[in-house]
């Protein structure tokens, strides 16, 4: 180890003095593999002191719908990057259409995620809420799917329309998933 000289202690910059950063995520997908990107990035952002809003729309509603959030699925179909862990050989798309393949692929993915100690979707959503994320449900999707606030995770702030979302995301970075 090379040491130079004793210097006045440097204090890390934790950004306490800098302008508050904000990120809005739009979650539009209800596939298991498409639920995680926003959850993981939101978790990272919150841990970095960034204010986070998440707007759930269309199939993304399944991430906060208590009837579905614990049972999101992963399908091989349409995913040409599908290969087994540790292999670069792509699996034929036709396999994905066989009975039971979606359940199989879903279980495999869930296991791989759990092995990394990443929580399942309901626990993850609750964790982000505890970290201070704010959740919004899309009015059009709610109407289309015949949902009410009672169907959703209790931490959802409100059901809002698109103009309200545009207002609340003013000045914020927006990430669409």
């Amino acid at each position: 180890m090379t040491t130079t000289q004793t210097a006045p202690a440097v204090v890390p910059d934790f950004g306490d003095e800098t302008e508050q950063r904000r990120i809005c995520f739009i979650c539009s997908k209800g596939n298991l593999d498409m639920a995680y990107p926003a959850l993981i990035m939101a978790n990272g952002a919150l841990g970095e002191g960034v204010e986070v809003d998440i707007f759930f729309t269309f199939w993304g509603m399944d991430m906060i719908n208590k009837g579905t959030w614990g049972d999101l699925q992963f399908s091989m179909l349409g995913n040409t990057a599908m290969h087994m862990k540790g292999s670069t050989k792509h699996l034929p798309q036709g396999l994905g259409g066989l009975p039971g393949m979606t359940a199989f692929a879903t279980n495999m993915l869930k296991k791989q995620i759990a092995d990394l100690d990443v929580p399942e979707v309901p626990e993850f959503v609750q964790m982000l809420h505890d970290m201070g994320a704010r959740f919004w449900a899309c009015k059009l999707s709610v109407d289309m799917m015949g949902l009410t606030k009672d169907d959703m995770f209790e931490g959802v702030e409100d059901i809002i329309n698109v103009s309200e979302f545009i207002e609340l995301s003013e000045g914020s970075q927006v990430i669409f998933i």
């Binding site: 180890m1 090379t2 040491t3 130079t4 000289q5 004793t6 210097a7 006045p8 202690a9 440097v10 204090v11 890390p12 910059d13 934790f14 950004g15 306490d16 993981i40 978790n43 990272g44 841990g47 970095e48 002191g49 990394l116 100690d117 990443v118 929580p119 964790m127 505890d130 970290m131 201070g132």
Partner: protein
């Protein structure tokens, strides 16, 4: 890598100011590091710091927020109250450990 004087003793720190030598840490050093970032350590803070240090010793890497909650038993919400804004990095800084590398 340089030497800095913290709480009256010379300790090794990286360019950001995080300590690099596990054994150079002490509670006095922690108190000084905490006050550098405007945190006054309470017993509850020390529970978190002690967990982080023990866990680092066992695992060889700094626990993420989730691990502090699931294994250390301290609710995530409380971590944000104890170490506002960037809890994972602030905890690691005070505990004399590297920043956590895990994503979740």
């Amino acid at each position: 890598m340089s030497l800095a004087t913290i709480a009256g003793r010379d300790v090794h720190v990286d360019e950001e100011g995080f300590m690099t030598e596990y054994d150079e840490w002490s509670e006095e050093v922690a108190g000084q590091l905490a006050s550098n970032i405007a945190i006054e350590l309470t017993d509850r803070h020390m529970e978190v710091i002690d967990f982080l240090r023990e866990d680092y010793k066992a695992q060889g890497e700094t626990a993420t927020l989730r691990r502090v909650t699931t294994v250390g038993g301290i609710p995530t919400k409380e971590l944000f109250q104890l170490f506002p804004k960037k809890p994972a990095k602030k905890m690691a800084y005070i505990a004399g450990l590297p920043k956590p590398k895990g994503c979740v």
